[in-house]
């Protein structure tokens, strides 16, 4: 069973509620669910949609299938009717949509809502019931979902929603076309509790688990979800959340808070990250541990604000004048995002460096079912800290940038002991005084860069998936994971020749591991959500190994398994 429902409509028509309800209903029915959101940069009108995929197996990607469309307006019919798989249907209210197609299945959402729920607002529940009826689902899943959702509003609201859903459910069963064949097979749910989360929420939860104590941000799509999630939990989770006047201030605030002793998180998107470039280097030279999350969207400039892309990779690696160590990671799913953020905080503290986590709109907004996050096994490593006694005994002799074997100096937090903390964005000596002498400069510069080598050694190996003795490697990073994985499956159905090699730790790469992982294939295909194959360039600059083919996407839409299959064509060089 692998089934996709699209809910389409204008911004402001409440399609998010229907979408979310369907996701949860699918989860209740025991499926693995994956749902993406496609929305325009406007608040009302336009055409937005939710794509919800139910599967018996765990899935990490949307795909190109489309079995049912819930169309809230006429545009949605037009937009999606050609995507429909054979046998699929478009559900709509005859009062909203007049379309001429045998695929249309009318359900009077509004009228049934008024009749059974007392108000048009219940139309969402009617639609939900109708979908369930069509697919042969169990109304109990819907009931349980509606109870969860409306519990706090009182039993009357719950009951009205239930009646409405039942009306839609029964309408669908009664009227569904004879030849409609799609069918549910409810999966017996495991006892383990599961979650439905999107990437933004998972990142927020990860940051809280990691002991984040300060977040500063200026709103920017698609990173705002992270900020708002944490803001709404600031009291229960001991996090100070500050809305900054601009992104420059946001990062500098984070750097201040981090030097004061608080684990600090700064979420943003590419344009905001651009404004943070100067601050990034300040974190670099002051050896400040800080986590920046850049949720990518298509650039340059304002670009396509609500869409997805993977085009900030080389920028994230090279942002800022001069040279200093940093770590760049790119998780690909909510569960991976949760643990990546924890690791980001630990690595930031261990190495006393800025860590950049690259997500994107696709990761931020895609909902996925997952097992509950395991807060118990989260380990906190705050790195080299002097305890109060050690710090007091040093007093004015404490050296923030002490030269050490591994390049890492013990930290103190100003005002927490008698140790005197001093650092600066100028080149400095061990004590944090501004210097200009060549030898002192070299010593501190090498101290910092030394960490790069250690970071390289500790770089996580890529994930591998697919055929044992494959000759084709699909090389990917970040949010394309699920699509690449399924593409590998599709290829291997016709002969076991393909393997996914997927990177989470992006920079610094360990050339030896990379060569080991990708060196042995006849075909190396870069799969990236950008136009210039940025990760492929990075690999080549580190290993000399080039790709033989490229599957790139840069129209702001996520890469799907089918997109990969369709685009694996001949051709070595990039067109530019």
């Amino acid at each position: 069973m692998d089934l996709t429902i699209v809910v389409g409509g204008a911004a402001g028509q409440g399609l998010r509620s229907i979408g979310l309800a369907l996701v949860k209903a699918g989860a209740k029915a025991g499926f693995h669910v994956f749902a993406t959101q496609d929305y325009m940069s406007r608040i009302r009108g336009g055409h937005n949609f939710f794509r919800i995929r139910f599967s018996e197996d765990e899935i990490f990607t949307t795909n190109q299938d489309c079995h049912l469309v819930v169309a809230l307006d006429h545009d949605s019919v037009e937009f999606h009717k050609n995507d429909l798989d054979r046998g699929g249907l478009i559900l709509c209210d005859p009062k909203d949509v007049q379309a001429n197609s045998e695929k249309i299945f009318y359900v009077p959402f509004g009228d049934l809502a008024i009749e059974h729920g007392g108000h048009k607002i219940m139309a969402n529940s009617v639609a939900l019931g109708a979908v369930w009826g069509l697919l042969g689902g169990e109304i109990d899943d819907i009931y349980s979902l509606l109870e969860d959702t409306w519990e706090t509003k009182g039993t009357d609201v719950v009951e009205k929603n239930k009646s409405s859903a039942l009306a839609g459910f029964e309408h669908a069963i009664k009227n569904k076309p004879k030849d409609f064949e799609l069918k549910f097979k409810k999966i017996s749910t495991t006892h383990e509790k599961r979650l439905v989360v999107d990437g933004s929420t998972a990142i927020g939860m990860g940051a809280i688990a990691a002991g984040c104590r300060f977040l500063s941000a200026y709103p920017m799509t698609p990173s705002t979800g992270i900020t708002e999630y944490i803001a709404s939990h600031q009291n229960s989770c001991n996090i100070i959340v500050e809305q900054a006047e601009d992104e420059i201030a946001a990062l500098i605030m984070g750097i201040g808070a981090a030097n004061a002793g608080a684990r600090s998180l700064v979420p943003t998107s590419g344009g905001g990250f651009s404004l943070m470039v100067e601050g990034l280097g300040l974190a670099g030279i002051t050896e400040t541990p800080i986590v920046i999350v850049n949720m990518q969207r298509p650039g340059p400039a304002t670009g396509l604000p609500t869409r997805t892309e993977q085009s900030d990779l080389l920028f994230a690696i090279h942002a800022h004048q001069g040279e200093f160590p940093r770590l760049v990671m790119a998780p690909h799913s909510p569960e991976e995002a949760f643990s990546t953020i924890v690791r980001a905080f630990n690595m930031a503290d261990f190495y006393q460096i800025p860590v950049i986590v690259l997500g994107d709109q696709y990761l931020a907004d895609s909902l996925k079912t997952t097992t509950s996050f395991d807060f118990n096994s989260v380990k906190i490593d705050r790195g080299k800290l002097l305890d109060e006694e050690e710090a007091n005994s040093l007093g004015g002799d404490y050296k923030r940038h002490l030269l050490t074997e591994d390049g890492i100096s013990p930290r103190v937090f100003p005002g927490r002991s008698r140790a005197i903390f001093a650092t600066t964005g100028d080149e400095h000596d061990e004590s944090g005084n501004i210097i200009e002498e060549a030898d002192l400069r070299i010593a501190q510069h090498e101290k910092r860069l030394k960490k790069l080598e250690s970071l390289r050694q500790n770089s996580r190996k890529p994930l591998e998936y697919g055929a044992k003795n494959a000759s084709i490697a699909l090389i990917s990073w970040g949010s394309t994971y699920g699509a690449v994985k399924e593409a590998v499956d599709l290829i291997n159905k016709k002969g076991s020749i393909a393997k996914m090699i997927h990177f989470i730790d992006i920079y610094p790469l360990n050339p030896d591991t990379v060569i080991e992982a990708i060196g042995g294939y006849k075909e190396r295909i870069a799969i990236e959500g950008n136009a210039t194959a940025q990760f492929a360039k990075l690999i080549k600059s580190e290993t000399g190994i080039g790709m033989t083919k490229y599957v790139l996407r840069y129209d702001g839409r996520p890469i799907t398994p089918e997109y990969i299959i369709d685009n694996i064509k001949e051709g070595g060089n990039l067109p530019w």
Binding site: K24, A27, K28, D148, K193, R194, L195, V196, V197, M205, I208, A209, G211, R213, F214, S216, H233, Q234, N238, I240, V241, E242, E245, D246, I248, A249, A250, I252, M253, G254, I255, G256, A257, N259, A260, A262, G279, L282, T286, T369, S372, F373, F375, N376, V378, I380, G395, G396, F413, P414, G415, A419, I420, A422, T423, T424, G425, G432, N433, I434
Partner: protein, 284 residues
């Protein structure tokens, strides 16, 4: 007890005769009189001649980027309210590159003392006009003189109902000590604009130029009278008033979470397992 011996004066890279020396001395004396020890304070600054001050003083310090002292300082204070924070920078640092942060720091009103060494010139980069340079000032990029009026931070601050704003002069240590102490005692964002001669580059606004113009606000001056303050604050010509020009005593900014001095949020123990409850919200 804190004494001047806790604040030895180190060698500087300032020019002999520079107004910055006066500010440093006044700061030292104010800190001693306030009974603040070097490990209790945090000196935050940007980049410029003025911004080097923390390098030449004892005390915790964070010398960041040109124009970016205030966001760092505010965050330090928010996560550790026990710190006594003093922020330093030039007129270029604070009013040009850092203008937006000043605007919003005044609105936010985090408890800090912000001292601007206003020499009406970009000193470290060798004499270009700054926002406070008066119309006609000749600098390297404006060889025919700037064509903008000099920025006056005092009415600017008053217009946003700042909690505390004063003007002082690096040539009068006692006055400056008094201003720093008063600013530090005010629980909120306090701005002191200090007239500071740059003997090397600013040949217009010299010691003499300032001395000829400055005068002290009379004892009966009421700094809580906003309209009066607005009027007074605009004097920057033949006469320049010194003193606390406006004081609204707005309450200091605090975060949305309880964050007392003795139990700052930043240092509360953390156990990841305590947050398992977050799963609940997203469970099916």
């Amino acid at each position: 007890m804190v004494t001047v011996n806790d604040y030895p004066l180190s060698e500087t890279a300032w020019c002999p005769g520079c107004g910055n020396f006066g500010i440093r001395l006044a700061l030292r004396d104010a800190l001693v009189e306030l009974g603040l020890a070097p490990h209790q304070i945090l000196l935050v600054s940007g980049v410029g001649q003025a911004a080097k001050l923390p390098m030449y003083m004892s005390g915790n310090s964070f010398t960041g980027l040109h124009g970016r002292s205030l966001p760092a300082a505010q965050a330090f204070k928010l996560v550790n309210p026990a710190l006594k924070i003093f922020v330093f920078g030039g007129d270029g640092d604070g009013y040009a590159e850092g203008g937006n942060h000043l605007l919003h720091a005044i609105r936010r009103n985090v408890d800090l003392t912000y001292i601007v060494h206003n020499n009406q010139v970009f000193g470290l980069t060798k004499g270009q006009a700054s926002p406070t340079s008066l119309t006609g000032y000749v600098g390297g990029i404006t060889p025919q003189g700037t064509r903008m009026p000099g920025f006056n931070p005092i009415p600017f601050a008053i217009s946003m109902d700042i909690g505390f704003v004063a003007r002082s002069f690096s040539g009068d240590k006692d006055h400056l000590v008094a201003m720093i102490k008063a600013a530090s005692k005010y629980n909120g964002f306090a701005l002191i604009d200090v007239l500071q001669p740059c003997v090397t580059f600013n040949k217009v606004n010299t010691y003499k130029w300032y001395k000829d113009r400055v005068y002290y606000l009379p004892d009966d001056y009421d700094p809580t009278d906003k309209e009066l303050a607005f009027r007074k604050s605009q004097e920057f010509g033949e006469r320049i008033p010194l003193g606390i020009i406006y004081q609204s005593n707005r309450p200091a900014y605090t975060t949305a979470i309880d964050n007392p001095t003795d139990d700052p949020v930043a240092f509360r123990p953390h156990n990841p397992a305590d947050f398992t409850f977050l799963n609940k919200e997203n469970e099916i």
